[in-house]
């Protein structure tokens, strides 16, 4: 709320550069024959990028607050959807139909 001095630009520009770098890394990895690690690498990069945007551009960095709870709640609840469904998909026979 306080007026000047303005906060430094440097962290944002560095964050922007790192995000672009990760994008490049993701494209490069797509062409590497790493098999099963493909999805791990790509979703790993996506989560890293998301973390940078959340912490830096969406200003979550600093003291943990109520915002953290709600920022995390969505992702945390998705774990329930994925996790409990995987109990079924991991042990079910008969899908996919051949």
């Amino acid at each position: 709320m306080s007026a000047n001095p303005p906060e430094p630009i440097a962290p944002y520009v560095i964050g922007w550069a790192v995000l672009l770098l990760l994008l490049g890394l993701s494209v490069l990895a797509a062409y590497e024959p790493i098999g099963i690690f493909q999805p791990i690498v790509h979703f790993g990069i996506a989560f890293t990028q998301a973390a940078i945007v959340f912490l830096l551009f969406m200003k979550l960095r600093g003291r943990p607050s109520l915002k953290w709870v709600f920022a995390g709640a969505g992702f945390f609840w998705l774990l329930f959807l994925f996790g409990l469904s995987m109990v079924d998909y991991g042990t079910r026979s008969g899908f996919p139909l051949k």
Partner: protein
């Protein structure tokens, strides 16, 4: 959200601003589950039909997807610098940065439209115009269905964001914002960056598939 007046239920503008931001964070939590449910259905089919999804993913245009991601990343930078300019009372920079954000958003939609045109030309539209190449079976159609639903919903969210930022730019040009009143910028900035993050995950779902030999 956009009225500068202090509403009756708040004690001061700081409380009002914090509350508006918390509201946006709660909304983002619901959006995470909205897109998350879609990615969940994708996830189930991708690991049920890995080869088919690899075949279909190979037909997507990774260059266009990457250019678009770079555009969005840059737009997040301009948006956050706009809120910073408001805090520093740099009115001219604020208007310029908001306009740049709108322009980048429109550029994304332009590239996306061009990509859709190429998808149509490649007969990748499920049911309406879909050609099964040799080895392609039904699940490739599911991939493209996910592609259009996910990118379409993302484009819709981005369009809403463009309208919101454009409105902010007009009000900024009228001098509506000051270091003591920038809550709408912060709130819309959160939304804008969140739409940006959604794209990271959609990118990982769509473009890298089936390229490594």
């Amino acid at each position: 959200m956009f009225s500068g007046r202090l509403e009756a239920q708040y004690s001061d503008s700081r409380q009002q601003s914090e509350t508006a931001q918390l509201g946006m964070w709660v909304f983002i939590a619901t959006e995470v589950l909205f897109f998350g449910a879609l990615v969940f259905s994708y996830f189930i089919y991708r690991f049920t039909y890995p080869e088919q999804f690899a075949l279909a993913g190979h037909d997507s245009f990774i260059l266009l997807g990457s250019v678009n991601q770079a555009i969005l990343i840059t737009s997040s930078l301009t948006m956050v610098l706009a809120t910073r300019a408001a805090k520093a009372d740099q009115q001219r920079a604020l208007v310029l940065l908001l306009s740049a954000t709108v322009a980048l958003g429109l550029a994304f939609l332009g590239v996306k439209g061009y990509e859709y045109a190429k998808d149509v030309a490649a007969h990748s539209v499920p049911v309406i115009d879909y050609v099964f190449k040799p080895g392609y079976r039904r699940p490739t159609e599911i991939f493209w269905c996910f592609y259009f639903v996910a990118t379409g919903l993302h484009a819709l969210h981005l369009t809403i964001g463009i309208v919101l930022v454009a409105l902010l730019a007009v009000r900024a040009a009228q001098g509506a914002f000051s270091p003591s009143y920038d809550a709408p910028l912060e709130v819309v900035g959160l939304y804008w960056s969140f739409v940006d993050t959604v794209w990271f995950f959609l990118f990982a779902c769509i473009y890298p598939l089936g390229r490594a030999g």
